[in-house]
Amino acid sequence: MATAEHKHPNYMAIFWYLAILTVVEIGVIYLPIGKFTIGVLLCALALGKAVLVAMYFMHLKFETRTLGMVAVTPLVIATLLVFLLLPDGFAVVKRTVGVKAATTETAPAKH
């Protein structure tokens, strides 16, 4: 068969989920909770929206496993990248703290 047609899911429901999640995201930044908690919540909400788009709009839910693996690969690489960058981040923070301690706030360190 020329067009391997799968069933079309209820796109309007996905649209409303995405719209509501966007409103929730904007609401979250005004919540009187810690910045870290807000960050975690925002990341989770964004990931949820991305999964909705990939699964239903991009039909990943109805595709073969091969395509799913192609789609997941960049996610794995991105996660590795975060861990690769972490030591660098901490090293710079430590160095900056060291400089600040040495100068004891006589001259503000310029970045």
Binding site: A4, A19, K49, A54, F57, A78, L81, V82, A109
Partner: protein, 205 residues
Amino acid sequence: MSHVASMHGAVEPAESPLTPESWGKLGMWIFLAGDAVGFGTLLAGYGAMRATSGDWPVPFDVLGINLTAAMTFLLICSSVTMVKALEWLGKGDRTRARVLLFLTALGGAIFVSLQAYEWTHLIHRGLHINGNPWGASLFGTSFFLVTGFHGLHVTGGVIYLLAMMMVVKRRPVPAASYNAVEIAGLYWHFVDLVWIMVFTFMYLL
């Protein structure tokens, strides 16, 4: 050919063998995976620069999110018109499919126009690629780099969608253009997906 197909079937009985239609889809997915690594690297680089900077401005205060939230909503809407275009094409209605493809492209064009408006506004307020009045100069660099890279993707997507309208028009049998439109849809939804990430990491966080 049939030999290869039967071999494939023997190796992976659970998977359907690759068809000429699915090659195109696989090709687009591989391209998008590469593109995702590109965007992922940009965002990870943004995170690393921001985490190690002492005077990074609060994006939320500097950029404002009202317009960007509307732009996010616009892209989500254009994703819906895209899937609807494919759905109608599957039902054999080429005219409706073309109208919906046009609306999708229009959504993308409005998005890029709003981004141009936003950039102009921010540049006038002093946000430049090599400095800004609020703090770390890399803030402007990364902002223009990431949103610009995404804006170029949207621009390319608009051209792609207009080309798909022509494809649907020229092929009298709706099923003949179904696969091509579905692949174009993959690209368009990916651009939407990336914006969800950019909006979260560069505006809200």
